[in-house]
Symmetry: C2
Subunit: 221 residues, 2 copies
């Protein structure tokens, strides 16, 4: 099956969550191959996984024999390969804005708060948990303040980040809001982000991509 799609994913990875949303928005069936990022020091560090992705990060999407890395680059690939429904708007100006919002999350919030960073603080600097959590909240609030300003009162903002169709920016924003809640960030200063998250999660494409609905999520007792 040349078109078979396999997603190397971890239920709580927000980068994998982005790709799950994108696949669902495109209506593409895929197989989930869980990679446990914590157990036994992290399955992403095994030789087998490193061959798939030398970055030792999830997600990786296999499309037939193609190995696709980097969540935002994977979303661009999905949009080029299956153009409808589009993840990016019609004009280059609007596409620029969508990508800028997506990357404000994917470059300037998420990588700072990734598991490997928090592990570095613990291992190398012995930073206590409360200070590590404060670090996470700092970059989320800093980044969300900027994203909120980019969304508020902008003529392109609609029900979603860009107009009334969910797209690339929403694929990145919603998983970051999940992370924000997980770390106890007060979201009340970001009403536009909260409103867009609600609109997204009302859609099945977002809902079934939620971390707690993944096959590798811990089951409630």
């Amino acid at each position: 099956m040349a078109d078979h799609l396999q997603l190397y994913s971890y239920w709580r990875s927000s980068a994998a969550y982005r790709v799950r949303i994108g696949l669902n928005l495109k209506g593409l069936a895929y197989e989930t191959l869980p990679v446990h990022l914590v157990r036994d020091g992290g399955e992403q560090h095994t030789d087998g996984f490193r061959e798939l992705n030398p970055q030792e990060l999830v997600p990786v999407l296999k499309h037939g024999d193609r190995i696709l890395r980097q969540s935002v680059a994977i979303l661009e690939y999905l949009d080029e390969t299956w153009p409808e429904p589009a993840l990016l708007p019609a004009t280059s100006r609007d596409r620029q804005r969508s990508r800028a919002i997506a990357l404000a999350v994917a470059c300037d919030i998420h990588p700072l708060n990734n598991l490997r960073v928090l592990q570095y603080f613990d291992r190398e600097w012995n930073v206590p948990q409360p200070e590590r959590d404060e670090w996470v909240r700092h970059w989320i609030t800093d980044g969300f303040a900027a994203v909120e300003a980019m969304l508020t009162d902008h003529p392109s903002t609609g029900e979603f980040c860009e107009g009334n169709t969910p797209g690339l920016a929403d694929c990145c924003l919603v998983p970051q809001v999940y992370n924000a809640r997980r770390f106890g960030v007060d979201l009340s200063p970001y009403p536009t982000i909260e409103r867009i998250e609600r609109a997204c999660l009302a859609l099945p494409a977002f809902d079934v991509a939620r971390p707690e609905k993944q096959p590798d999520a811990p089951q409630p007792n």
Copy 2:
């Protein structure tokens, strides 16, 4: 002049450096508007600049009255608006790979080592300079090992990251190598990265974009 291009830049910002290379590769004339990231606490934090970019980061590109943010999203915009010479290859598979290499730098190396992060360590945790420098080197060596593996022996790698034409991945890689040298990273484990950097810097588009050739670079005495 609807097409007038103005780049808010800082000579040593590697994100601004990416956009300078992209503009030069496209043969586009632009005006440099320096934003001093250090002096007086950082000009990027002024009210005037925050209106241009709520993220309080450079670069920002103004194209006529359009305000464009996020360096990789700006490079995509340049490629859509002025398609020749292309920054991205012809097939979606190759484009995916180019973007993945670009984002391996732009998401997973550079933001971790940005000025604001190092300032946080100093201000909040009192991390001594040698440990901050070690942090920077850690993420560069971690990221370069992965990028080197993505480049080595891959059939798409040519004189540049993708074939024999410089493009998006090179725009991101070369500024990161500059940062690596600045922090004393040993580059000998990354011969493909070093070879591509040499090929790039031999081109005027990269050469004139170098930090030390910018109008706001400190002048030698």
